[in-house]
């Protein structure tokens, strides 16, 4: 007798529907598996046999052929166990086939018949909805994640035995918690814990308000990492859709804690990371750090220590907000809409200015490592100095906290959203040259300011647009619809000039 059951295979951060067909007929007892399975799936035969028997069900002593279709999708891992077992039960008439015509199943089996949680439940639920299934059976621990997807009934089942009871209407799982109660948290480290560093705080706020990439320069221990960690807390809270997106990626990468993300991600890979670790890759392509930071912050500490190839690999994703990873004949796309925050020392020896003994050549070499295409995507640079003892010990009113800053950032973003509605840009940092000219009208006064800036600082054409974008954000942050000459001056002040002099 023939039966087929639908399940899903993870590919990248998406899922592809896979149909598991099982044919049971008379013959010498055997269990063959066809359709591009890998070793873990071949081993599924043993798990399915043991789990079926240990759940008090019958394992047919007949000739069993299982096929995973479509054959061209590469299938890996243990996620087909449950579908195989269910198809086998259908084919051997132990459960009604009709029930599974509108349901998909997904899960790994233990020998005892329990269902184990796996990575990627959100992606699977998304796939089930897209394919039009009414119900999705997942391991009980994954139910909370899978239920984030609308329009598909998620059934969290602890074991194969319970699933059979469910099909026969002898048992119902507890409905997963109503998920609409989700609210972004205001938690995470708070900006009020950072003392001093007024310049960097202002730069951080502007960067958050316009979505600009930022570079912080300062000696070790000045608080670069501390500040960067507080950036997700001042960025606008993720919307529900963004939270689902974040959770889906983290669920595939095994980072999810089983519930919906409440904050934007913050990823800080070490500088020894490989290009594929950063942008994604591997034999079965897995998302890289830049994708794990999607809708959040990618922090690269010791920017100059990253290999040139790694930094080079960042360029295209930074421009396009997504990564294409090529593996063999396939290309897989990952989302990568991030804010980049870099940090580095002011010179190779990393000592304060008076103790620095780097010569021009060493400084120039260091600056050269930083310059290049990546820096073209960085709009703001700010300095940090080692915190002064007086600031560290002083009591009294602490600096402004994340909540207040976030409110200003949200207001600025709202202003940008209204202005940029209908264009491809979401925030000022996304504006191309045309949009920049459209939204930053240069009157006579502003034109004169820009001209001063060009003459005094030797700005390039690209630098020109960057200054205007940044001035637009500064005006938005301070609640002005028109850009003022002071905004231009301030934007010139944060201009990126690493290695400019060293190269001259």
């Amino acid at each position: 007798m023939l039966a087929s059951v639908a399940t899903f295979a993870i590919e990248g951060i998406d899922s592809k529907e896979v149909c598991v067909e099982v044919d049971v007929r008379r013959g010498l007892p055997a269990f063959t598996l066809v359709g591009l399975p890998d070793t873990a799936i071949r081993e599924a035969r043993e798990r399915v046999r043991a789990a079926t028997l240990n759940s008090g069900l019958e394992f047919p002593m007949q000739r069993i052929t299982a096929n995973l279709a479509p054959a061209h999708i590469r299938k890996t891992g243990a996620s087909f166990d449950l579908a195989l077992a269910v198809a086998l039960l259908c084919a051997s008439v132990q459960v009604p086939r009709d029930w599974f015509a509108t349901a998909a199943v997904w899960g790994e089996l233990s020998l005892g018949g329990a269902l184990r949680p796996m990575r990627g439940a959100v992606a699977v639920a998304t796939g089930a909805r897209r394919a039009g299934y009414e119900r999705l059976v997942v391991p009980a621990e994954n139910a909370a994640e899978a239920v984030l997807v609308d329009d598909v009934e998620v059934l969290g089942v602890p074991s194969l035995g319970k699933l059979v009871e469910l099909v026969h209407d002898r048992w119902r799982p507890d409905p997963p918690e109503p998920r609409r109660e989700w609210r972004p948290s205001g938690g995470g480290p708070d900006l009020s814990e950072v003392r001093g560093q007024a310049d960097a705080r202002r730069a951080l706020e502007i960067a958050a308000a316009g979505g600009h990439n930022l570079l912080m320069i300062g000696p070790p221990g000045a608080g670069k990492t501390m500040l960067a960690r507080r950036l997700p807390g001042i960025l606008p809270a993720p919307t529900f859709e963004e939270a689902v997106e974040i959770t889906r990626i983290h669920s595939v990468a095994g980072l999810s804690n089983g519930s919906l993300a409440t904050e934007r991600p913050f990823r800080a890979p070490h500088h020894t990371i490989s290009p594929s670790g950063l942008i994604g890759g591997g034999a079965t392509p897995r998302p890289g750090e830049i994708t794990l930071a999607h809708r959040g912050v990618l922090f690269l500490d010791e920017l100059a220590e990253f290999s040139a190839r790694t930094l080079e690999a960042l360029r295209q994703p930074l421009e396009e907000g997504r990564v294409e990873v090529m593996r063999g004949q396939r290309s897989i796309g990952f989302p990568a809409a991030i804010m980049l925050v870099g940090a580095c020392n002011a010179c190779p020896c990393a000592r304060p200015k008076v103790d620095c003994d780097c010569d021009d050549v060493a400084r120039a070499r260091y600056a050269r490592r930083l310059s290049g295409p990546l820096l073209d995507r960085i709009d703001i640079v700010c300095q940090l100095e080692a915190a002064r003892p007086l600031e560290l010990v002083s009591g009294g009113r602490g600096p402004v906290g994340s909540k207040e800053v976030r409110a200003r950032v949200v207001a600025a973003r709202e202003r940008q959203r209204r202005r940029l509605a209908g264009s491809s840009a979401l925030c000022n940092a996304d504006m191309d040259g045309r949009l920049t000219r459209l939204h930053v009208r240069l009157g006579a006064r502003l034109r004169a300011r820009m001209l001063d800036g060009h003459v005094g600082t030797g700005m390039s054409a690209r630098g020109h647009d960057r200054v205007l974008r940044l001035a637009r954000t500064i005006a938005d942050l301070d609640g002005r619809e028109r850009v003022q000459p002071d905004d231009i001056d301030e934007a010139v002040g944060y201009r990126m000039t690493i290695g400019a002099k060293a190269a001259a």
């Binding site: 560093q197 007024a198 620095c356 120039a364 001063d452 800036g453 600082t457 010139v492």
Partner: protein
């Protein structure tokens, strides 16, 4: 037009030829060439001797002045020897004046520049940003007051003073340790060319000679030879600039130094000079007072810029090396306003970016309104 006699031309060729032997004889990198360069040709060959003595003698015997002059012309250099009436008198006062002196950039121009009061501005190759700024401003200030700035084109302070002198509209004299047509250090090729636009590059080694270690202290003595005053902007304890300072004292030139932070190792040498009696200079004005007497002499002709109080405050902060946070705390401006002021000051040419995004003072002095 060169002003060099055949005998001196031959002597120059010999020094170039024997340069490796001079290095071997001097041994230690910082050792002074002592009396070696005062010797006559035959004595020099005898003193340095060694295996190439025969070749050196042959060079003397078979020397063809016409050929040498052609070579000189081809490398776009000129030369002047002590027997020429125009030989800079101050240079001739040295115990062992360079003879001949090779010049690139025009002999007449060199003589004109040397006829003005000259100040050597020297210092370490890995200076603090503070000292870079001082050297740069001093170069500019001196040049705009009509003083010729002399230095060695080396990394750090030397280069900054040359840059400043060029910014101030002056023609600097750069003294090299190798041939005058060999830019050294190599990464200063651009600066070398800029110097040649208005200034000159000189050396006691013939064109094409590579710099050797002995050449550096030797060129320091030539810098001193040109100068009426020597300013050490910043030097470590074992800096070559201290050799220059020694030459200055031996040759009766004014020796001055710029004070550095007392506990900074980069300034230990220059601070020690101050402690042992070198003149204390804070900038161009003090150097001018030192040369011409207090209140006498030319003043820099710099165009002052008018600034409002906020810009003035921020400019003060840059001058004393404060960061944005401290400038904001002191002036009462918000960090954003300080950044705006910095952007404005940069546009006005009063501050500029250092290589890592920080700011340093540049440009003419500013008056507040």
């Amino acid at each position: 037009m060169s002003a060099v006699c055949d005998r001196c031309l031959r002597r120059g060729a010999l020094i170039g030829f024997l340069s490796p032997q001079i290095q071997a004889a001097v041994g230690r990198p910082r050792a002074r060439t002592a009396g070696l360069l005062t010797l006559g040709e035959r004595e020099m060959v005898a003193a340095l001797g060694g295996s190439p003595a025969g070749a050196a003698r042959r060079l003397l015997d078979e020397f063809d002045p016409a050929l040498a002059r052609e070579d000189l012309e081809r490398s776009r250099c000129e030369a002047i020897c002590r027997h020429a009436a125009e030989y800079p008198p101050l240079l001739a006062e040295l115990h062992d004046p360079p003879n001949p002196l090779y010049v690139r950039g025009g002999l007449d121009r060199m003589l004109a520049l040397a006829a003005e009061p000259c100040v050597a501005v020297v210092g370490g190759r890995r200076p603090s940003d503070y000292a870079r700024g001082v050297a740069q401003r001093m170069g500019r200030g001196l040049a705009s007051a009509g003083i010729t700035v002399v230095s060695g084109l080396a990394l750090g302070i030397d280069a900054e003073s040359h840059r400043g002198a060029l910014d101030g509209g002056g023609g600097p004299i750069a003294v090299l340790a190798g041939g005058p047509d060999v830019p050294y250090p190599r990464q200063h090729g651009g600066l070398y060319r800029r110097v040649l636009e208005r200034g000159v590059v000189v050396s006691e080694l013939p064109p094409g000679t590579q710099a050797r270690k002995w050449g550096f202290p030797a060129r320091n003595r030539i810098m001193v030879g040109f100068a009426t005053a020597v300013v050490v902007v910043e030097a470590r304890e074992a800096s070559g600039s201290l050799i220059t300072a020694e030459f200055a004292q031996d040759s009766n030139r004014e020796l001055a130094a710029v004070p550095g932070q007392v506990d900074a190792r980069v300034a230990a040498g220059s601070n020690a000079l101050l402690h042992s009696g070198a003149a204390f200079v804070r900038g161009t004005e003090d150097v001018l007072d030192l040369i011409f007497g207090v209140g006498q002499g030319p003043r820099p002709h710099l165009r002052p810029v008018e600034l409002d109080a906020g810009l003035r405050e921020v400019l003060d902060s840059v001058e004393v090396g404060e960061d944005v946070g401290r400038a904001s705390a002191r002036s009462g401006l918000s960090p954003g306003e300080v950044r705006a002021a910095l952007g404005r000051l940069e546009a006005l040419g009063l501050v500029r970016r250092d290589s890592f995004g920080g700011y340093e003072r540049s440009g003419p002095p500013a008056m507040s309104t």
